[in-house]
Structures are given as C-alpha cells and as structure tokens.
C-alpha cells in the first residue's frame, strides 16, 4: 500500500493547521474523528460542510459516517453561534428551581426558540443538559461563564446589556 498523503488544507486560514495538528497527533486514525471535530468546533465555532468534508477525507471516513457523528452528538453545531451565547442549564436541579421559567422568559425576550440565534446574529439562546454546578441552581452560562442562583431579572438584564452593545 502506498504511504498515505493527507489532502491539502482547504485554505490559508491558520485554524486549519490546528485541525490538521489534531489529526496528525492521532496518526490520521479513523477513531480521531470526534477529537478532530472538537478541534474544528473550538477553532471555528461550528462545523460547516467544508470542514466536515475536509475532516472526513483526511481521516478516510465515509462522509455519511462523519455527518452521522456530527448530528448524533448534541455538542456539535452546524450553525455559527451568535456574538454572545446565553446557555440555560436544564439539568434536574436547575429544573426543580425554575430553569423552565428562565428559558421561557429568555425565549419571549429574544423572540426566538431555544437552540437558535437572533436574526441580527447577536445572541444565541441554548440549553445545556447539565453543567455540573447543580448546587447553585438555577444556573446560566453567559458566554461560557457560570452564573448561579440566577433570577429572571438578572438574566434579562444581561440580555439587555448584550442587546445594546
């Protein structure tokens, strides 16, 4: 078998080198698929078609399998995130302490359902299964920063600050 030559990077964008680095570190093995997709998402913020194609081709994984993995796991996103992201934890402890009301009130304020981004691309509203900060429920993450014992007012104030930026 001739030695494997990985395909060229899709563009000059330096982030592809990081993605390629993850694959090289794993010897371009097929089982590095999820690891590589994590690197793509952390570098680019989401996974677009070009990225999935590039990773699938480089790891010699069928495109159907790569797409199947991307859509199976909740953590991977096919759409670019907004400038800011509000994530409401929807774990059990948060639910018992009223996370559902927080979600409803954020949906109402932003006029979008959870899991989507406002039309101006400013704010994404997401839910998490559990971030493990249950002792401070209900918890929201403002751009990844954990904020516990969140009240509806505090959350809406945060959204307001982002909206006027």
């Amino acid at each position: 078998m001739p030695p494997f030559t990985p395909p060229p990077l899709p563009s000059d964008d330096k982030r592809w080198k990081i993605v390629n680095g993850t694959m090289r570190k794993n010897g371009f093995a097929r089982h590095a698929l999820i690891e590589t997709l994590h690197t793509v998402q952390s570098s680019f913020g989401y996974l677009d078609d070009d990225a999935i194609r590039f990773v699938a081709r480089t790891l010699r994984v069928p495109l159907s399998q790569a797409y199947g993995v991307v859509t199976f796991y909740h953590y991977f996103s096919l759409k670019p995130p907004g400038k800011h992201t509000l994530t409401v934890c929807a774990g059990t402890a948060c639910y018992i302490k009223g996370a559902d009301k927080l979600i409803a009130s954020a949906e109402k304020r932003l006029g979008i359902p959870q899991g989507t981004t406002t039309n101006d691309g400013k704010i994404s509203l997401m839910t998490a299964r559990c971030v493990g900060a249950c002792s401070r429920a209900p918890v929201v993450l403002c751009d990844g920063e954990v904020a516990g014992e969140m009240s509806g007012e505090q959350m809406l104030e945060q959204l307001e600050r982002w909206a006027v930026e």
Partner: protein
C-alpha cells in the same frame, strides 16, 4: 521512581509547608469559582505578602457545602469561613493567629460529623494541579507497593475482599469484573474510565476529576496492572473543561515522575492513559455506547453479551469502571480489603459520594457510609428543606431512578434497598423536592430527557419514550383520562422489558415510582383537572411568571 523516592518527595513537601505558620485553603471548585473565588485567592496572596506573616495560600478542590461558598479553611486552627469575597481577604489574614473573623466563621459540624471521607479525603486539602501535594498525602504509594510487592491476582483478591461494587450505578462487584478481564486472553487489553457523568443533577465525578485527578489516574494504573492492560482511556464530558485540563496536567506530571509510561518503577509494567472527549450524549454513559464513542463512532449501544470484559474496544478485552470506583482503589490497596469491608451495610460496602441538590439547605457534595438512613442525609447533613416548606420526595439515580417519598426516609442507603423501593443508587445525584414540585411534572421532565437522549437504535425506547411523553403531557395539561394512566403503566412495563440498553430499560422508573407513591397527584390532574403544586398548565392557580 521508587517508594523511597516517593517518601522523599512527601518529606520535601512537608518541609516546604513547615516554613509557613498558616495555611489558607481556598475552594476553587466550580460553585465557589463562579462566585469570585479566583479574585479572592489573588487578594489573599496580596494581603499575606503585605502582612509579613508566613502564610501559604492554596487553591483546592471542592470542600463540600457549596451553598455556603466561596469557602475558605484556615489551618492549623481548622476555621471554616463561608460566603467570603475578595474584600474579606485582609481581615482573614489579620485574624491569623489572633481572633478569627466572627461574621464569616461558620459551624457546619452537623453537616460534617455524619460524613466519612474516603474518596474525598484529599478534597479541600491539596492543590489539584500539584502531583507532589497528592504524593505528600500518601498518593501513588499504593501503586508502587502493588507493583513491587503484590501479584496482579493479589490486587484483584484485595478488591474482591473489600466488597467494592461499581459506583456508576449498576453496582456490579468490581473484583468480579476485574477477574473476568484478567482471565480474558489476548496480548492487548484496555482500561477505560467512564467520566461521562450524564445524569443531570449529579457532579460527584466532576469534583473528583477536578479536585483530585491523580486519585483516578492511580486507580486506573492499579486496575491495568491487575488485569494486564497497557493502555487506558478516560472518557470525559466536553461540558467539563476544567476536569479535562486538570486530568491533562495530571497525566503529564505522572509521566514526568515516571508513574505512567514504560517500565513503571523499574518493573516490566507499562501503562499510559489518553483522554477522550464526550460530545453530549447521555447514552454514552452506557458502556458499549461509550466504547463506540471512543472509537470515533455514533454512541449507540450493542447487545450484550459479548460483554466488554471479553470483547470491548476494537474487539479487545476492556475493563470499564466509573470515576468514583477508580477513586476507591488506592485507599483499598493501602488500607486493606477488610478496612473497606468493615464500612457500610451488609451487601453495600464502603462509602458513597452524593451530590445533594434541589430544595435543601446545604447543597453540595457529601460522602456518607453506605447504610446511612436517607433521613439523616437530608435532615441532618443536608440541614432539611428551607423556607418553611415541607419535604415531598427525594430523587436518586437521575433519569434512571425514582422518587422516594417521606414515609420511606428511614430506609438505609444501599444498592438493594433503593432498588426495592423502585429507585436505584445511580451515580449519586440526590435531588430533594418540596411541596412546590409536581411529581407528574417531574416524571414528564425525566421522560422528556430520555426521549431526546434516546439513540434511536431500538424501537421500545425510541418510540416508547415519545408515547410516554405524550401521555404525561396530556395528564399535565388536564386532558388526560384514567385510561391514559392505565396505558402509561402498560407502556412502562413493555419498555422496561424490551429495550436494548440501560437507558430504555430504566427510563420508566421515574414514572412508575411517582405513580406508586404519588398516585393521588396523577388522579387529581385527571379527575379534578388540578395540579396540587400549582405547576402544571391545568392548574387553576397559575404558576408565577417570571417578570419580563
């Protein structure tokens, strides 16, 4: 690395610590860190320098009572301060060796006295990013002792003797599992740590991985030696970035010290560990699904047998244990199987860590001996239900568990005891609910969770959980009938008996247990179209809306 060298490291840490008159430990676990513990630590360092006192400021893992955070513990006085912020730093340093700061001081002896710390023995005492701190508290001694003085069979024998059972929830005897993998043939075997803590409402494994990562690494290395594996994987949720970074640091430091890698401690034993990130799928807590995910595939479970112990990762014999199970290994090797066997109840040995959350005064992490009464955990250690509300139920085992009512609170915590009342031990989430929680609504919450998390491979789980959700929604909305309730019960039985993996088999548990103990709430929704807790849509007393 030899045992003598370990002792030398421990001694040098002790000498280093002896240079200081006081130790100020700052809890930097997620709950405290999210309330400014990082800034607090910086201010404490500044204040200590300015004061001229010899003070060691140390960041530590979770101290336990998160609801009182950010927490600071001062030694040697053993003073515990609660709700500390950065403005208190100077006062705390000024109080060292003099009078403690009265308004911050707290007495949580009721909370701590009933606890026994094995897994959490180092939490709150060591800096999780310093391997020498772990070594100074006896770390890695069990590994080196086992490698030089014990046979692999001897290690398995000691684990069997201890009576340790899997802490991921199933409760399978750990020694037996290790024995099966050890007996399996083949030159390549794997050891896997399940850190995919998917149970919403539980964070024990996160705390252990973040607060004491070397304990997990040492446990895995001991397991690898016992079963003859040379490669390990830790599968961690991507939602736990701090755990990933602490484990990465831990693995690097262990390699540098020669505690991982080739010919550990100059013996023929070689072992190394890689981290694999989960990507948000509850089903990946199921062992065969987890293995598929490590192989880079969709996390769908496979029928068992063959069990992973015989054919696991890439078809090779694979040992899978939970984080907390591995965290128990080093102490058992160090102190002997009998020591562990003497703790706990008849068929459940040792201790169990619980994440106590929900409507309870002291939320946080507790470690209790098996067999302790639920009432003691909730009313004494947890401080009871706050704000004048009354206790209604405690939920254990997450989406696979059940709700236990007030009349069963005198039940001792054990695998079999919890199973008997329709719940399970689970990984250790314990969520307390009061009279403001509607049990039908809670059941629907869990079923919705299982519905969205079902991998879709087998029909009972994929279609059944969706039908359960529809029926429960009808009841919650006040349009359900008694026939719906009967159909729901029938459906639960079918799903339980015919699903492929644990997710489906246990998904009906929250429904069945709430029907068993809170049937009157279901009937109230159906017959009187009323939600007694005022949560559901059908309720006359509409729930309080968050002000927009």
């Amino acid at each position: 690395m030899t045992i003598e060298e370990l002792d030398q490291i421990a001694e040098s840490v002790r000498q280093e610590n002896a240079k200081y008159d006081y130790e100020v430990n700052v809890c930097m676990d997620l709950a405290c860190a999210s309330q400014g513990a990082g800034l607090l630590r910086d201010e404490l360092v500044k204040a200590a320098e300015a004061s001229g006192k010899k003070v060691l400021v140390r960041r530590t893992g979770c101290m336990g009572p998160c609801s009182s955070g950010p927490l600071v513990r001062v030694e040697p006085e053993e003073t515990l301060y609660r709700r500390v912020n950065s403005t208190h730093a100077e006062a705390i340093v000024a109080g060292l060796g003099e009078k403690p700061v009265a308004e911050l001081q707290c007495d949580l002896s009721d909370h701590f006295d009933g606890q026994v710390r094995v897994v959490l023995e180092n939490a709150g005492h060591i800096d999780p990013e310093k391997i020498d701190d772990y070594i100074s508290r006896g770390g890695y001694k069990a590994l080196l002792t086992a490698l030089t003085e014990m046979t692999p069979n001897g290690v398995i024998h000691r684990i069997t003797e201890s009576g340790l059972r899997g802490r991921g929830g199933g409760g399978y005897p750990t020694g037996l599992k290790w024995g099966t993998v050890a007996k399996a043939g083949g030159d390549m075997k794997y050891v896997v740590c399940n850190g995919d803590e998917g149970d919403p409402g539980a964070f024990m494994d996160r705390s252990v991985m973040e607060g004491d990562p070397h304990r997990v690494i040492e446990g895995m290395a001991l397991a690898a030696y016992a079963v003859g594996a040379s490669k390990g994987f830790i599968y961690v949720r991507a939602e736990y970035p701090v755990a990933v970074s602490r484990l990465t640091t831990g693995l690097r430091d262990a390699r540098r010290r020669g505690l991982l890698g080739n010919n550990i401690c100059n013996t023929p034993f070689s072992f190394d560990i890689e981290i694999r990130l989960g990507a948000g799928a509850f089903v990946c807590g199921e062992e065969t699904a987890l293995l598929a995910s490590i192989e880079g595939k969709r996390g769908t479970p496979k029928p068992r047998p063959p069990y992973p112990a015989v054919s696991g990762l890439w078809g090779k014999p694979t040992l899978i244990n939970n984080v907390e199970t591995y965290a128990n290994i080093a102490p058992i090797i160090r102190n002997g199987g009998k020591w562990f066997h003497d703790m706990g109840s008849e068929r459940s040995k040792g201790t169990k860590v619980f994440a106590l959350t929900g409507k309870i005064t002291h939320t946080g992490l507790v470690e209790v001996p098996m067999g302790i009464k639920l009432r003691e955990i909730i009313e004494v250690i947890g401080g009871g239900v706050p704000d004048g509300h009354t206790f209604k139920a405690v939920q254990t085992g997450g989406p696979s568990g059940g709700c236990i009512p007030a009349e069963l609170l005198d039940l001792g915590v054990s695998y079999d005891g919890l199973m008997k009342v329709g719940s399970i031990m689970g990984s250790g989430g314990m969520i307390v609910m009061d009279d403001t929680s509607c049990m039908v609504n809670v059941a629907r919450f869990f079923v919705e969770f299982c519905m969205t998390e079902s991998c879709g491979k087998c029909i009972p789980c994929r279609a059944g959980t969706a039908q359960m959700y529809t029926l429960l929604t009808r009841i919650c909305d006040g349009v359900g009938t008694m026939e719906d309730l009967d159909m729901l019960i029938g459906l639960c039985t079918t799903i339980k008996e015919t699903s492929l993996c644990g997710l489906g088999m246990t998904a009906p548990n929250p429904v069945l247990s709430t029907i068993q103990y809170f049937k009157n709430e279901y009937i109230e929704h159906i017959v009187n179209k009323r939600c007694p807790a005022g949560v559901c849509k059908c309720s006359v007393e509409a729930p309080v809306e968050v002000q927009a």
